[in-house]
C-alpha cells in the first residue's frame, strides 16, 4: 500500500470490516443471545415449567424409558443421544442420527411415563445458537462462511489496534456534541476498545471451537486425518469402537446409569449410545463440566452388550489439550455464574454495537455533498445497515412472538417460527430499500421497540403462570425475560428518537431544524454548525478509524 503502515491498516480495517460487517453483526447478536440459550429454550416451552424435577435416583428408570422409545422409533439409527432430565429442564431430550446427510430425528419425552411430553414444538434457543455458527445454511457451508468472517474480524481487530495512535486516550473519549459522525467514531472506539480483550478472546476462541475443520492439516500429517483418534489420544473423548458387524442385544441401561452415577460426582447430563444392536455397541455417560474454565466433560464408557466399564475420563489433560478445552470453555462461558454471564452478555452487546457503529460510520464518512445524489453503493450499504441493525433484532423479536402466538398444535410449528423470523428480517430489509433512509431507520428501530413490547404483551396474555398474573409462586424466569425485553424496547425507542432528532451533516432539511432545540438539548450555537461541518471533507479520510 502507498503511505504509512498506519494508513494501510486504516484502509484494511475499513474495508475488511465493511465486507463482513453484516454477517458479523448477525453472528454477534445471535451469539450474545446464546449466552442465555437454556433460559430462552425454557421460556419458549412454558408447558414444561410445571413439571416437577427428577431425582437422581429416578434417572436409571428414565433412561430405560428413553431406550424403549428409541428401540421402537429409531431402530436403525447409528447413534442415539439421550439428554437426561435436569433441574431446570425436567424432560428427556432424544436425538438420533441414521446416516450422514440425513436430518437427525428428535423427540421430547416425559421422564415419568416415557410418552411424548406435551410441549409446543419449537427449536427454542437452539435456533439462535445454531444460527450463530451455521447461519441456517447447510452446516458445512455455514461454518465455513462464519469461519472466514471470524478470520477477517480478527484481521480487522488487529488492523484496528494498529490504527489507533492513542488507544489509551480513546478509551476515555466520547465527544457527544461535536459532529455527529465523530460521536459515531467515538462510540465505535469506546465499544471496540473497552471490550477489546473480550473481542479478541471471543474471535480467537470462536475459531478454535471449529479449529479442526478450518485447519485440519496437523491431524492430516500426524493422524492421517483420523480426528476421532486425535480426540481420543488427547483425552477429550473415550476411545471410539468401530462396529463388529455381528448383531447383539443392548444390555439394560439402568444399571449402567447407576454405575456411572457412583463413579463421577458431577451431574449426569446425557448418554450417547453408538452402534446399538451391534456386538461392539458402546454407551457413554457424559457429565456436566466440573467447576472451572475448561470445556471438559467427565465421561464413563460402557460396553453396550456386557454393561462393563471400559474407560473413565476425568480431567488429567496435557497442557496443550487443556489450553484448547479452556479456549472452547471461555467461548461458551458455561462456567459463568449469573453476574459473570451478564458481563459476557454486555460485552456481546458492545461487540454488536461496535460492528453496528462501524457500519454506520462507513456510510456517514461517504455521504455526498448536499447537492449530489448518493452513489448506488452508498444506498445499498445504507439499506443493508438498516436491514441488519434493525432487521435482525426485529427478526428475533418476531421469533419470540411467533412462539407465543402460533397455535400450539400447528403442524410443523417450529419451522413456522423460523419462517416468521426470516419474514420479519426480509420485511425490514425491503423497507430499508423502499423508504428514504432516515424514515427507514426510524421505522425500523421504532418497530423493534414495538415488537419487543408486543412479546411482553403476548407473554402476559398467554401464560397463566406469569408472576404478574399469579403473584404467589409464578415462575421468575418470565419476569427476567420480559424485563430484558423491556430494556431492549427502551434502548431501541431511544435510538429511534435519536434518529428523528438527528441532524444529517450535509443534507439540510429546514423543516426539521425548528424542532431540533426542543427535542434534544444542545449547545446554543448548534443551528450554525451546519455550515462548518461541510468543510473538513478532506480531513475526514485521515480521521477515519
Amino acid at each position: 500500500m502507498k503511505g504509512s503502515v498506519r494508513q494501510s491498516m486504516a484502509w484494511l480495517h475499513t474495508w475488511s470490516g465493511l465486507v463482513v460487517g453484516w454477517v458479523l453483526l448477525a453472528i454477534f447478536v445471535t451469539g450474545t443471545a446464546s449466552y442465555y440459550r437454556a433460559d430462552i429454550s425454557r421460556w419458549m416451552r412454558p408447558e414444561l415449567m410445571q413439571a416437577a424435577p427428577v431425582a437422581p435416583a429416578d434417572l436409571p428408570a428414565a433412561a430405560e424409558r428413553a431406550v424403549a422409545y428409541l428401540e421402537t422409533h429409531a431402530p436403525k439409527a447409528r447413534t442415539w443421544f439421550i439428554g437426561l432430565p435436569q433441574p431446570d429442564h425436567p424432560v428427556l431430550d432424544l436425538f438420533w442420527r441414521t446416516r450422514p446427510g440425513e436430518p437427525p430425528g428428535r423427540a421430547t419425552l416425559d421422564p415419568r411415563t416415557g410418552g411424548e411430553a406435551r410441549a409446543r414444538e419449537t427449536m427454542g434457543g437452539d435456533f439462535l445458537y445454531r444460527f450463530h455458527f451455521e447461519l441456517h445454511m447447510p452446516p458445512l457451508w455455514g461454518r465455513w462462511v462464519v469461519g472466514v468472517c471470524a478470520m477477517i474480524m480478527l484481521i480487522a481487530l488487529i488492523s484496528g489496534i494498529v490504527t489507533h495512535k492513542r488507544i489509551f486516550v480513546d478509551f476515555f473519549t466520547f465527544r457527544r456534541d461535536k459532529a455527529p459522525r465523530r460521536s459515531f467514531l467515538d462510540a465505535h472506539n469506546v465499544t471496540g476498545v473497552l471490550a477489546l480483550p473480550f473481542h479478541l478472546m471471543i474471535t480467537y476462541t470462536g475459531l478454535v471451537t471449529l479449529a479442526l475443520m478450518y485447519m485440519p492439516w496437523g491431524v492430516t500429517v500426524a493422524y492421517e486425518g483420523d480426528r476421532q483418534a486425535f480426540f481420543a489420544e488427547s483425552g477429550q473423548i473415550t476411545a471410539p469402537r468401530p462396529p463388529a458387524g455381528r448383531p447383539a442385544a443392548l444390555a439394560p441401561i439402568g444399571p449402567m446409569v447407576e454405575r456411572a452415577l457412583q463413579t463421577v460426582p458431577e451431574t449426569l447430563e446425557r448418554l450417547t449410545i453408538v452402534n446399538q444392536g451391534d456386538a461392539n455397541a458402546t454407551v457413554v455417560a457424559v457429565f456436566e463440566e466440573p467447576h472451572g474454565l475448561s470445556h471438559e466433560h467427565p465421561q464413563v464408557a460402557f460396553d453396550g452388550v456386557s454393561g462393563a466399564v471400559i474407560e473413565v475420563l476425568r480431567g488429567g489433560l496435557q497442557p496443550a489439550a487443556k489450553t484448547f478445552t479452556t479456549m472452547v470453555g471461555l467461548h461458551e462461558a458455561h462456567f459463568a455464574g449469573p453476574a459473570l454471564r451478564a458481563l459476557f452478555f454486555l460485552c456481546g452487546v458492545m461487540g454488536s454495537a461496535m460492528v453496528a457503529t462501524g457500519l454506520v460510520l462507513w456510510s456517514l464518512a461517504r455521504l455526498p455533498k448536499a447537492e449530489a445524489r448518493p452513489f448506488p453503493g452508498l444506498r445499498l450499504v445504507q439499506a443493508l445497515n438498516i436491514g441488519s441493525v434493525a432487521g435482525l433484532p426485529a427478526a428475533v423479536a418476531v421469533y419470540f412472538l411467533a412462539n407465543r402466538l402460533l397455535p400450539v398444535g400447528l403442524a410443523d410449528r417450529s419451522a413456522w417460527e423460523i419462517r416468521a423470523f426470516f419474514a420479519a428480517w426480509i420485511a425490514v430489509a425491503l423497507l430499508a430499500l423502499a423508504r428514504p433512509q432516515r424514515r427507514a431507520w426510524r421505522a425500523g428501530l421504532g418497530g423493534v421497540a414495538v415488537l419487543c413490547l408486543a412479546v411482553v404483551g403476548a407473554d402476559l396474555a398467554t401464560i397463566e403462570a406469569h408472576p404478574l398474573r399469579r403473584p404467589s409462586g409464578g415462575e421468575a424466569l418470565f419476569l427476567w425475560f420480559d424485563g430484558a425485553l423491556l430494556a431492549l424496547a427502551a434502548l431501541f425507542a431511544f435510538a429511534a428518537r435519536k434518529v428523528s432528532t438527528y441532524q444529517a451533516p450535509r443534507r439540510a432539511e429546514p423543516a426539521r431544524e425548528a424542532s431540533l432545540p426542543a427535542a434534544a438539548p444542545r449547545p446554543p450555537k448548534r443551528p450554525a454548525a451546519a455550515a462548518p461541518q461541510r468543510r473538513p471533507e478532506s480531513g475526514k479520510q485521515r480521521e477515519r478509524a
Binding site: M1, K2, G3, V5, Q7, S8, M9, W11, L12, M151, L154, I155, I158, S159, V162, Y204, L207, V208, A211, L212, Y214, M215, W217, G218, V219, T220, V221, A222, Y223, E224, G225, F230, E233, S234, G235, Q318, P319, A320, A321, T323, F324, M327, R366, F375, Q541
Partner: protein, 108 residues
C-alpha cells in the same frame, strides 16, 4: 489509498494491485498457516496429540499475521516474495520432516 476521493474510481493498475493483495493475504496466509501447522505437528518435541493441538491453536495467529503483513509491506512484489519464500521454506521443512510419515498424497 483514497479510494472514494475524486472520481471515486481507482485506476486499473491500483485495482489489480489490490486484488493481488487480497488474494495473497487469503491464499498465501492460509498456505503459510496450513504448512506451519503441518510442520509443527510433525516436529514439535511433544507427544503427538499435544504437538497437533499446539500447532493448530497457533495457526490462526499465523494466518492473521501473514494477512496483516501483506497489507503492511509497501511493495506488493516484496510481500509476494516474502509469502512465497515462507511457503517454500515451510514446504521443504515439511517434506524433510514428515515425508516418510505421509502416505500417498496426504500432504496439504
Amino acid at each position: 489509498m483514497n479510494v472514494t476521493k475524486g472520481s471515486a474510481r481507482p485506476r486499473l493498475a491500483e485495482a489489480a494491485g489490490l486484488v493481488g493483495r487480497v488474494v495473497l493475504a487469503a491464499g498465501g496466509g492460509y498456505a503459510v498457516a496450513a504448512l506451519s501447522t503441518a510442520l509443527l505437528s510433525a516436529t514439535l518435541p511433544l507427544p503427538r496429540s499435544e504437538a497437533v493441538t499446539a500447532a493448530t491453536l497457533a495457526s490462526f495467529a499465523i494466518l492473521a499475521s501473514v494477512a496483516v503483513l501483506v497489507f503492511a509491506i509497501s511493495s506488493l512484489r516484496h510481500a509476494a516474495a516474502a509469502v512465497l519464500g515462507a511457503i517454500l521454506v515451510l514446504g521443504a521443512g515439511l517434506w524433510l520432516a514428515a515425508g516418510p510419515l505421509l502416505s500417498a498424497g496426504g500432504a496439504p
